[in-house]
Amino acid sequence: MKKIGELVAERAFFLSAVASSSITIGILVFMVFMGLPLIREGGGYHLLLKSWSPYQGSFGIYPMIVGTAAISFLSLAVAFPVSLGCSFLIATIAPKPVSRGLRRIIELMTGIPTVIYGFVGIFLVVPLVREWFQSGSGMCVFTAALVLGIMISPTMTLFFSDSFDRIPRSYLDAADALGASHVQKLLYVMLPAAKKGMLNGVILALGRAVGDTLIALMLAGNAVRVPASVLEPARTLTAHIALVIAADYESPEFRSIFACGVVLYLFTMAVTFLVRYISYAEDRKP
């Protein structure tokens, strides 16, 4: 009797695992399947390198790829130093109560909805940027990257803090007992020891930045052109999907957003495997 219960339960757990993991595969297959006709027609690389002008019959997503890269890398450039500094504060530099409080606040910040960053961004940051730089509309790569950078900083800080927390106690004791000051311990012991973990944090944060839709959609202006400067509008792959979803299911426009989906998906896979590889290499260190 009991035996059967055990078997049924194990089978149920296994089937759940299969079902939920098949979602991952299912999504990819579906994206590829839907995008296939266009890819086959135009040649995959063509699609990636052409510009977007549906009236001329050109459905390339090149500008969106560049827009995505520009916004996400720039947002990393904002978030990285900020997160690094904050994680330093939390790790050693700030006094205990401050560091604990800061960590709480940052944890809480990861819960702020994206759409709220976008909302405040439109009414506060966009006009500010427009007036500061006396150029453009304020809806541009810079604004989106700035807000996106602020948005991913808490997550990135926590990634960094976690890698500091994983440093073996014995290293910290050694540094303390040798008379290292807080900063010295941080710079000469913790930072080198946490390097790999922090790299993972950066890669994961990049994944977040690339995958974000709302900030770019609301703040970047969505122009379908490769931006010539950070003060020009641009469109990301994610925003492109949100904007073009509106088209006819048979049309090449609609097919092309599946190409965007496939690109984003493959990027996610690359991020995942890179992170796994780095962690694996780290685990094997002596």
Binding site: A12, F13, F14, S16, A17, A19, S20, S21, I23, T24, I25, I27, F30, P81, V82, L84, G85, C86, F88, L89, I93, L102, I105, L108, M109, G111, I112, P113, T114, V115, I116, Y117, G118, F119, V120, I122, L124, P154, S181, V183, Q184, L186, L187, V210, G211, L214, M218, T238, I241, A242, I245, Y249, F258, G261, L264, T268, M269, V271, T272, R276
Partner: protein
């Protein structure tokens, strides 16, 4: 000496970064509350309708957030309802049954799933709905059901991972305790291991709820609309707070609507902050509660 300077700069840099982040966030949030604080009152939620009548679903609310709030809550409940059983079961499988190659492959798949941008999941949900519509029934289209399914895909990895981590974090000694007393594997899991890791699992679920509450990208493709009233069935379109905020931010037609956008933002923010606080608060207490329930 060079090192000394580096050390000084590091300290300066860290404090500067911390201040900057805090300032940025307090500025953003402060702006929201200063500009929108006075928008928050009962009429923001219920419009011209009487709150009591509206809560009893006896009167419709037109100029208030009530339908959006209800839509968001229903959406959360549905998504969590799909995601919890399968997520926890998968977490249990990963932690207690899977091994070797199978585990590595599943791990990788869930890592990928948790990284897929939500708009891609939304796109999947949308085109899947259209596919169903064409193949099977005219009644299916982007709707509450599709949105909640897509959202459950989005949060599944959270639940799987927290369940798995909570179970794997249990010490081997504790794991053997019940087994040595003749417990079967399943008894051990349900009587000892799950109760022990319940706080971890719960906080994962609450984070998942927070994710459902705030997501906009998925629902804007799968059935959230600007105006729909209270959802009537799984197959109806619906309103939701985050989508409403997004919608207002770009197409408010007068200052009153804009103020409603501020008000909606404050409500959504408070909801998410509350969920987060609960998630962090719950970590300790819960398994105690389970074991000591009389």
């Amino acid at each position: 000496m060079r090192l000394r300077i580096l050390e000084r700069l590091t300290v300066l840099f860290a404090w500067a970064a911390g201040l900057m982040l805090l300032c940025a966030v307090f500025l953003l949030m402060g702006y929201l509350f200063v500009k929108g604080g006075r928008a928050v009152d009962l009429s923001l939620i219920f419009g011209d309708a009487s709150p009591l009548q509206a809560l009893l679903f006896k009167q419709r609310v037109f100029d208030g957030l009530f339908p959006a709030i209800v839509g968001t809550l229903v959406l959360i409940l549905l998504s969590i309802f799909w995601a919890i059983p399968i997520g926890i079961a998968t977490g249990i499988y990963l932690a207690e049954y899977a091994g070797g190659r199978v585990k590595r492959v599943l791990d990788a798949l869930f890592d990928v799933l948790s990284g897929i941008p939500s708009i891609v999941i939304g796109l999947f949900g949308f085109s899947f709905a259209v596919f169903l519509h064409k193949q099977y029934s005219n009644d299916i289209g982007p709707c509450l059901l599709i949105s909640s399914l897509a959202l459950s895909f989005l949060v599944l990895p959270y639940i799987i991972r927290t369940t798995q981590a909570a179970l794997e974090g249990i010490s081997p000694r504790f794991r053997l305790t019940a087994l040595a007393l003749g417990a079967t594997r399943l008894q051990n899991i349900f009587l000892v291991l799950i109760p022990k890791s319940l706080s971890g699992i719960m906080s994962g679920i609450i984070l998942a709820i927070g994710r459902c509450a705030e997501d906009t990208a998925v629902i804007m493709l799968t059935g959230a609309v600007a105006s729909a009233g209270l959802p009537r069935s799984l197959f109806s379109q619906y309103e939701a707070l985050p989508f409403y905020i997004y919608y207002i931010s770009s197409q408010y037609s007068n200052p009153d609507e804009l103020m409603q956008g501020y008000g909606a933002s404050i409500i959504l923010l408070s909801l998410c902050a509350l969920l987060f606080a609960v998630a962090y608060g719950i970590r300790k207490g819960l398994s105690h509660f389970i074991f000591y329930r009389p």
